[in-house]
Symmetry: C2
Subunit: 265 residues, 2 copies
């Protein structure tokens, strides 16, 4: 359920600046975006109606609509016909510049996802033919992540035989990298990552609460120990439109300088 707006941030009280180089609709969009990111309008909450924004800021309906359009394109709000404009449900991101687990990425954004163990099997990875050839990772761990009570992602991880000793209770909570590093004592040397827009099996769509044949954001990862041996293969199926993978790629000229801080940290 959405709650009516009861308070406004300071940014929403200051008049717009007609002499600024930024058009009025951009200024209004920035004010609304600030109010959203400061939590004045939370995920799922309704923005003030057009008429109220027009009178509060002394601007035209066209200007208000342009501002809302801009926020809509940025994915920050969603307009529902006849109902008004609502703040988008929270979306999350993961920085691919450093090796980061999925759970760790969510935690860095202040999210503690609820996890639910769907499967912990000692041998599924040996028989189900879903692993790239040559990987000896028999233990399968399937887990659903929910945020604010809604399914957000399903993770399928294949781990070495020794991971069986982790047991289902710990497997529900521990991140895959915690299992590998803290429980199995492995040091991760590198991970190969592939990102696609894919149509998962119906079982996974159902686990995500999506209709059959829906598309999801799929990340596949194979991690290698420092020795070079593969120690994990995983697939993360993420509901569409709520997750962004980010990275910064240095141009050829910048490689040397971009590398410096990474070596220091």
């Amino acid at each position: 359920m959405t709650k009516p707006i009861t308070s406004r941030s300071q940014a929403m009280d200051k008049p717009l600046d007609a002499s600024s180089a930024d058009p009025l609709y951009v200024q209004l969009a920035n004010r609304l975006a600030d109010a959203i990111s400061s939590g004045t309008y939370g995920p799922g909450q309704q923005l003030p109606p057009e008429a109220r924004l027009m009178s509060d800021f002394g601007i035209s309906r066209v200007t208000v609509r342009q501002a809302i359009q801009l926020l809509t394109r940025n994915g920050q709000v969603v307009s529902r016909r006849g109902k008004g404009t609502f703040v988008s449900r929270a979306s999350f991101q993961q920085d691919l510049s450093s090796l980061q687990g999925f759970q760790e990425a969510l935690r860095l954004q202040g999210i503690e996802p609820e996890t639910e163990l769907l499967e912990f099997s000692a041998s599924a990875g040996r028989i189900d033919g879903q692993l790239p050839t040559g990987l000896n990772l028999p233990v399968r761990l399937r887990r659903r992540y929910c945020v604010d009570g809604e399914a957000f992602a399903v993770v399928e991880a294949y781990l070495p035989a020794e991971a069986e000793a982790v047991g289902p209770v710990r497997a529900e909570r521990l991140s895959v990298y915690d299992i590998l590093q803290q429980f199995l004592g492995l040091r991760i040397g590198r991970a190969d990552i592939a990102i696609q827009c894919a149509k998962p099996k119906n079982r996974i769509s159902a686990e995500l609460g999506l209709p059959p044949r829906s598309h999801v954001l799929l990340m596949q990862r194979t991690s290698f120990a420092v020795s070079g041996a593969p120690c994990e293969h995983m697939r993360i199926y993420i509901v569409p439109e709520r997750y962004t993978f980010r990275m910064s790629v240095p141009g050829p000229m910048q490689l040397a300088s971009a590398i410096q801080p990474a070596m220091v940290s």
Copy 2:
């Protein structure tokens, strides 16, 4: 139209090895995968029917089906009920470890996409509010990429005012990085990249030949000149299931050694 299979690769003639540690279905799947990657069975072509694979390799129907299932899961083939099993349409990938244009990534895979100019406007980027705030990139270039006659991606690029001189004829063919580097003489220092599964505007779905409200793979990129000034913002909307972004991320221990070859190259 699909063509009937008229020749088989050598790999398809050699018997399977019952004494191998790999199950027979995995061996058959590998044979078929080799025949697909060597071009014996091209995109859209039909694989031999179950009965033929059973008799050629002296294996059971269950084994053949397991092999087909494995290839299906890997996205290499598609089974159509009552019609048989067909090689998937070609899919492509892009390595994010180095800064690479979209067109360049396709060319590295032997694909010369057909490009079609949808728009070349000197000022769209100034007025349409689709640019992140603060970027002064007024020239908009919209282009559709087709592969084998099918729409594959729509690119929307925003460029500096000087790019207007490129003109629509060159804008249809030149890659964005060629425009920036060769035509405008800019050196790219870095690019910030974001990858999502998103629902584009209906106009873009239509340009891609997709139904409204379809999901696509969306890459957004902002490139910066060596000076630090932003010199390009672009969005690439890619039809689902046919494109993979790949990268290799070094673990904390491996950063120093992983960096060495990059500095030498």
